[in-house]
């Protein structure tokens, strides 16, 4: 499927599992000791250590930049919220983000995001695939599906897990697109729960499952013989993942976490999902998408400023704990944490009825950290009232070029769908934001 197989930065199949250096290290150990099983285990562990991770916390609805990372307190556009000094001199966040303010010197903030799709679903699609829905030649995959293809998990773990759903529309959480069902994020319903409808635990149930799977494989082979069917391949891939899940059932078991760790994340659904995301990453799952509430919760057209306090506060507690936890567990340097929505909100306080802000794509904010992101950086700025980007505009393609670069994936890679080139970012546009690299 990969079109630019010879591109120096494009990974080859073997790169997914072991580097050449790791392989030689392992071969040397085997030659000296001949401990084949140790060799395998050792290298699996090392390969896992090479793995980079992403935790994307998605703030569906369009978080207000004014009530998060780019407050304009005291200006006519500022609204009622106050701000608080962060650990980065001169940089202030919303008053209800004390934890993220404390961690500002560990994260980077982009205050000059600019995009052009103001509809929730189109913007969700753009912000999570890098492609506009109207421009795609093939259904674009979620970028974490793309990452799962380029950097799959070692040890048979799921490569990409989705925690929680956004019910606001069918493009809110894009699927694997043309990559096929094998790269679909493993869906968990949220609130810290694992996958639904798995066969029951226990050796007998696993045996039963394997027996049914063998029958299905046998029947499937009969169908596949002489046919080239990506649908059948996807079907097989999806079923193949179930047995892996059955073997790794305790991946999702938050009851195994000590109460003190659980407490730090707060009692909310987001807190539980952020904890589960940290647990999955710690166990080796590379890519996790966390949904912050369903129902376009950040879409604050009305009664915005009062209710925003609750939303921001739980977001701050959960994501602050996540960042602290990843750092304490020495996962920070290889885990990219992204806090973002699909766009921002209007500088003018308009509202539909009571005060709120409408959709705004011209100038908005997000935050990222870990995985080599330069800490304490604030990229770009907006003007005094936040009505326009003042300097250093960053586009969605720029953002994806940055994400892929941080993960060691060449953002100029082109994949192929039905003989047509499909770049990772739309029309291969975008330049990595060098300030955060």
């Amino acid at each position: 499927m990969t079109r630019s197989e010879t591109h120096p930065a494009e990974c080859r199949r073997a790169d997914h599992h072991l580097s050449r250096r790791l392989f030689l290290q392992g071969a040397g150990a085997a030659a000296l000791g001949g401990f084949g099983r140790l060799f395998a285990a050792d290298n699996a562990e090392k390969a896992a250590k090479q793995q980079k991770h992403v935790i994307l916390v998605f703030m569906s609805g369009g978080p207000s930049q004014f009530e998060t990372w780019d407050p304009k307190t005291g200006r006519p556009t500022g609204g009622p919220h106050m701000n608080t000094q962060t650990t980065v001199p001169g940089i202030r966040f919303d008053e209800y983000m004390p934890n993220l303010a404390r961690l500002a010197d560990r994260m980077a903030v982009i205050r000059s995001m600019t995009s052009d799709l103001g509809d929730h679903m189109e913007a969700h699609y753009l912000a999570q695939t890098g492609h506009k829905p109207t421009n795609v030649v093939a259904t674009a995959p979620h970028w974490l599906s793309m990452c799962a293809r380029q950097r799959p998990a070692a040890n048979g773990l799921p490569s990409y897990v989705v925690l929680g759903a956004e019910g606001g529309g069918n493009m809110a959480v894009p699927g694997p697109g043309f990559l096929g069902a094998g790269y679909q994020g493993l869906y968990c319903p949220g609130k810290g729960q694992g996958p639904e409808d798995l066969p029951a635990a226990g050796a007998k149930d696993l045996d039963d499952y394997r027996r049914r799977a063998a029958l299905r494989t046998q029947l499937g082979e009969g169908y596949s013989t002489g046919r080239t069917s990506s649908a059948a391949d996807s079907h097989d891939a999806a079923f193949g993942s179930v047995e892996r899940l059955l073997r790794n059932r305790d991946l999702f078991d938050l009851a195994k976490e000590p109460p003190k760790r659980v407490e730090k994340y707060g009692p909310t659904a987001l807190g539980k999902d952020c904890l589960l995301a940290a647990r999955l990453v710690e166990k080796g799952v590379p890519f996790v998408r966390v949904q912050h509430q369903g129902g376009l919760a950040w879409d604050k057209h009305r009664r915005a400023f009062d209710s925003q306090r609750h939303l921001t506060r739980e977001f701050d507690v959960a994501t602050g704990a996540l960042i602290d936890d990843l750092r304490e567990r020495e996962l920070w340097d290889k885990t990219l944490v992204i806090l973002m929505g699909e766009f921002g909100r209007t500088p003018e306080i308009l509202g539909q009825g009571s005060p709120g802000r409408n959709h705004w794509t011209k100038s908005w904010s997000l935050s990222l950290g870990g995985c080599g992101v330069k800490p304490g950086v604030v990229v770009g700025s907006t003007n005094e009232d936040g009505t326009a980007v003042k300097d250093r505009p960053v586009t969605i393609p720029d953002l994806f070029a940055t994400f892929y670069t941080l993960l060691g994936i060449d953002y100029r890679t082109e994949l192929e769908f039905e003989g047509r080139p499909v770049p990772l970012t739309e029309n291969s546009k975008g330049t990595p934001v060098k300030e955060v690299l």
């Binding site: 609805g61 307190t73 005291g74 006519p76 500022g78 609204g79 009622p80 919220h81 106050m82 008053e95 509430q293 129902g295 376009l296 919760a297 879409d299 604050k300 057209h301 009305r302 009664r303 400023f305 009062d306 209710s307 306090r309 609750h310 939303l311 739980e314 003018e348 306080i349 308009l350 509202g351 539909q352 009825g353 009571s354 005060p355």
Partner: protein, 342 residues
């Protein structure tokens, strides 16, 4: 003769020409002795009108134009109250500040007489005591604070709420005051001992999430003229309680807003649609406990509905004048309607 109907008098509107959305009134107060109306709105200043000014028509809007006064440096004014003698106006803001403004010559002074950082969070709910000597404030820091009204020196900070404070009101005899919060609780405080007398559970506490967040827990509260009843509104419900026992005595499906008339047994409530009820407290049906001790629902609010006034979605701000003859109703579109109680 008890009142029998309400008649609309005038509409009041404020606009300083700045480009922005509707000012969205959130609290309304009448001056106790002069013909002046105040409103807190989506602004760092208070809107002020002379009740007797004439309506003008600008761009299809016929309303009495107002002015802005009592500026806070940042944020929005979240609450205000006028002292019973009419000499002082107090404002609390999301900037955490409590300001005291002298009122003379038909308007508040340009600068505050006193100005203090009152809470570690938005100041919500503010009420002068009936004798004008004390001020009570609530804050997003969950604290209830009592102040000397003359100079804003702190008297005592009280704790007990577990959610953002929303409103405060005194009993007419000054013996106690009540605070309400998003935790769904009404706390009744003794005004002399400055200690908690009673906790009343209103309920409705939930986190305000989603695209259409409700006003969770207690949003507004008020005490009846005889000091017997306290009514709380929030979420989707209005409940009246017996202040002496904390027992729910009546409920209604109106929401968000409530105020009693200081002169008659009248209660105004509702947000999108305000209604005014001449209630009959002799027909209150208190909630009863079942065999497991669980309290049931009280009876519906008994009385005669005098008016049903359509205000539009998300409208807030509701208060009777001190003589009970006027009712001010704030609207989300930045207007205040004044109705005469006849």
């Amino acid at each position: 003769m008890p009142p029998t109907k309400l008649t609309k008098l005038k509409t009041y509107h404020v606009d300083d020409g700045a480009k922005r959305g509707p000012m969205t009134m959130s609290q309304v107060r009448f001056h106790p002795t002069e013909r002046v109306l105040f409103a807190a709105c989506a602004e760092r200043r208070v809107a002020v009108w002379n009740l007797d000014d004439k309506e003008t028509t600008v761009k299809n809007l016929t309303a009495v134009p107002g002015a802005f006064a009592c500026p806070h440096e940042t944020g929005w004014v979240r609450c205000l109250d006028v002292s019973p003698d009419g000499k002082w106006l107090a404002t609390g803001g999301s900037d955490r500040r409590l300001k005291l403004w002298a009122f003379a010559g038909g308007k508040p002074a340009d600068k505050p007489t006193h100005d203090t950082e009152a809470h570690a969070g938005w100041v919500e709910g503010l009420a002068f005591s009936p004798d004008g000597k004390l001020l009570v404030t609530g804050g997003a820091d969950l604290a209830v604070k009592v102040w000397n009204a003359a100079d804003l020196t702190p008297v005592k900070s009280l704790t007990g709420h577990t959610g953002f404070l929303r409103d405060a009101a005194w009993l007419p005899d000054g013996s106690a005051f009540v605070t309400g919060a998003e935790d769904g609780k009404l706390l009744v405080w003794d005004a002399k001992a400055l200690s908690l007398v009673r906790t009343i559970t209103f309920g409705g506490a939930n986190e305000q999430f989603g695209q259409n967040p409700s006003l969770s827990g207690v949003h507004r509260l008020h005490v009846s003229r005889d000091g017997k009843w306290v009514a709380a509104a929030g979420g989707k419900t209005l409940t009246a309680f017996d202040l002496a026992t904390g027992t729910p005595v009546a409920e209604d499906k109106s929401d968000a807003q409530v105020c009693f008339s200081p002169k008659d047994d009248l209660l105004a409530t509702g947000s999108n649609n305000a209604k005014v009820v001449a209630y009959d407290s002799t027909k209150f049906v208190p909630a009863k406990a079942d065999k497991n001790g669980k309290l049931g629902n009280p009876g519906p609010l008994p009385g005669k509905e005098l008016a049903q006034i359509k205000l539009g979605d998300f409208s807030l701000g509701m208060r009777f004048s001190a003589d009970g003859k006027l009712l001010g109703l704030g609207r989300a579109d930045g207007k205040v309607e004044v109705w005469e109680v006849v």
